[in-house]
């Protein structure tokens, strides 16, 4: 295997007196999909936020392409080629779909003081990328705030895929998606992975994780429970780990093996 794109070692993160991460080690190689799994509140979102420059870790080191690096802002991380779909999506409800899509990285035309936002091109790209994900936008200038939950999530994913040059981080990207959109997203992950992009995929759905993941790291209460490669672990084992080893409530109807 080549060297990891990102290697994070012993990451700790405290919020005031709350300990959200207590020493997590994690890496992503190019062309692999590394799944980050764990119970609610395990610290997954906090962890990927330190990876994408939103939080500064309280302790621990980050190596990006072999060099120690500390991102001062998400913009730095983005410029290094890391694109993220945050769990809260990081969208501005009052702005149009296109403007959200290109927020921070607008395509321009003209030059000098006439350099301007190329709205037409942007609209076109945006509609197209959304259609690729299975959403037919009524109009690219619709405000994001009036989109349905799944439509909104799709915008965030399409945006990240469009800009994710080296690493693509997806925090529960399929949570609000319909079946069609979900399968599109999963196949998109498979596609970008083949192009050599490293993917970090967070999910609570064991089936989704097993479908696209190459390695699986499970967090529990701010700490790593361990990492397993595909084939070394069964869905049922993985599910047990994700639930923190605790018993699942039994259902009179049958949920089959995996939730």
């Amino acid at each position: 295997m080549t060297n990891p794109i990102i290697h994070m070692e012993g990451i700790k993160k405290h919020f005031g007196n709350v300990i959200a991460l207590n020493g997590v080690t994690f890496d992503v190689f190019p062309g692999e999909c590394h799944c980050l799994l764990g119970d609610n509140g395990a610290g997954k979102s906090t962890f990927i936020k330190t990876m994408s420059g939103v939080h500064k870790p309280t302790a621990g080191t980050i190596n990006f392409e072999g060099k120690p690096l500390s991102f001062n802002s998400p913009r730095d991380a983005m410029e290094a080629g890391i694109a993220t779909v945050f769990q809260d999506l990081a969208m501005i409800p009052l702005m149009s779909v296109t403007r959200n899509f290109f927020m921070g990285r607008e395509p321009t035309k003209g030059r000098g003081i006439l350099k301007r936002f190329d709205i037409d091109a942007a609209n076109e790209i945006c509609v197209e990328k959304m259609r690729d994900m299975g959403i037919n936008l009524r109009a690219p200038d619709q405000a994001v705030g009036t989109l349905s939950g799944g439509e909104r999530q799709t915008v965030a994913i399409a945006r990240a895929v469009h800009f994710g040059a080296k690493v693509l981080i997806l925090d529960e990207p399929t949570s609000a998606l319909g079946v069609r959109q979900t399968s599109n997203v999963l196949s998109t992950i498979a596609r970008v992975r083949e192009q050599g992009v490293g993917v970090v995929f967070i999910s609570h759905n064991v089936r989704h994780a097993m479908a696209v993941g190459d390695r699986f790291t499970v967090l529990n209460r701010g700490q790593t429970l361990g990492t397993a490669s595909k084939g070394n672990i069964t869905p049922a084992e993985l599910q047990d780990l994700m639930a923190g080893g605790q018993e699942l409530a039994t259902l009179e109807g049958s949920l089959g093996g995996t939730v």
Partner: protein
């Protein structure tokens, strides 16, 4: 490619008349208010109000206010306030007066220096807001007091004890830049028109309207540039994003700090521009210049449809907002209403104009 961007007809969209689509734009809502106010004064005011000279007369204060209002609108869209705009007018006026009268600089140096001075104060405001994480309301409130006080102290210092600095007009009278920042433009056109009898003249034969006051041109130019920036550039997109949700914007890679600091600088420079124009026009400056203008600028922006919470609004809206405000304040003097009732009318008219804007916008956009 084009076919893709317009994916044919969607059965889930009703067709929409052109007018409705037009009216949905926030910048156009404020036009409704302008029309309403115009009709009101057409009926109640002296006919002199809508002569050419009457229009110039209410457009002049509207323009001065509007330059501040547009800057305030941009800053509000970016999610911040600047309460020091009014004090900045006094302070920049004082600085400008000192540069021209006491130091004797020509305008080509005095104006850029004044603007740079103002911009650096704006940048300090922005930096404090970002560093401390305090609301800009309280930070710029402190600047309001500090700049107002500094103007007083400065004026007393540079005039040996007076709170009024005079003689600016004499100092810049022959400067080649003066016509750009004061007086009327296109005077020759107006004289021509008066000669051939198109324009009314005074008994002396001079046209009643000697030209278009330059502030009106600045006002229009600034509104156009601001609109262009907001709607057609990356910077504009960043401003909306920053104001809409600065956290989300930051996470999406918008340089939020840079945007905010730039906006504070623009606002301060707009205040300095108004200071320069009014100081050259008046020939003097005093410690109370621009009093309460921060307030009026915010009002202007809000009439024009800006949200106080940020992320929504337009420069053209503020443009019309300033015209509404200017028309109402000056217009009431053209009517026969007793001055005692002035404020009651002012309040009433503002409310009616804004309610009307809003009602139109709601009607055409459907319920939210």
């Amino acid at each position: 490619m084009l076919a893709k961007a317009n994916p044919g007809i969607d059965e889930r969209i009703k067709s929409e008349p052109f007018m409705t689509r037009l009216m949905k734009r926030p910048e156009l809502g404020a036009i409704g208010g302008v029309i309403l106010v115009t009709i009101f004064f057409m009926i109640t005011a002296d006919s002199a109000m809508f002569t050419l000279s009457g229009i110039m007369n209410f457009m002049t204060p509207a323009a001065q206010l509007g330059i501040l209002g547009i800057a305030a609108a941009m800053l509000m869209i970016g999610g911040e306030f600047d309460l020091s705009i009014g004090s900045m007018v006094a302070f920049a006026g004082m600085i400008f007066g000192v540069f021209t009268v006491n130091v004797g600089l020509p305008l080509i140096f005095a104006i850029p220096l004044t603007l740079a001075f103002a911009a650096s104060i704006g940048a300090v405001n922005g930096m404090i807001v970002i560093r401390t994480g305090l609301p800009s309301f309280i930070v710029t409130l402190a600047s309001l007091f500090i700049l107002r006080g500094a103007s007083l102290v400065g004026l007393k210092l540079f005039t040996d004890g007076s709170t009024q600095l005079r003689g600016v007009r004499d100092a810049v009278e022959n400067d080649f830049l003066t016509p750009i920042f004061s007086g009327e433009a296109f005077g020759f056109v107006f004289r021509k028109l008066a000669d051939i009898g198109v324009l009314e003249t005074f008994k002396s034969g001079l046209p009643k309207v000697p030209g278009v006051p330059v502030e009106i041109l600045w006002f229009i130019a600034f509104a156009l540039v601001a609109t262009y920036i907001l709607l057609r550039t990356s910077a504009g997109n960043w401003i909306f994003a920053t104001g809409g949700d600065s956290n989300a914007a930051q996470n999406s890679g918008v340089p939020v700090r840079r945007v905010k600091i730039s906006l504070f600088m623009v606002t301060a420079m707009a205040a300095a521009l108004v200071a320069i124009i009014t100081v050259i026009d008046a020939g003097s400056t005093d410690a109370r210049r621009g009093f309460m203008k921060e307030f009026e600028a915010i009002i202007t922006a809000v009439i024009g449809g800006c949200l106080l919470t940020g992320g929504y609004g337009s420069a053209i809206g503020a443009f019309f907002g300033a015209i509404i405000f200017g028309m109402v304040t000056i217009g009431l003097t053209y009517t026969d209403f007793d001055q005692d009732w002035f404020q009651v009318f002012l309040g009433g008219m503002l409310l009616i104009a804004v309610v009307f804007n809003n009602a139109i916008r709601k009607r055409v956009t459907g319920e939210r």
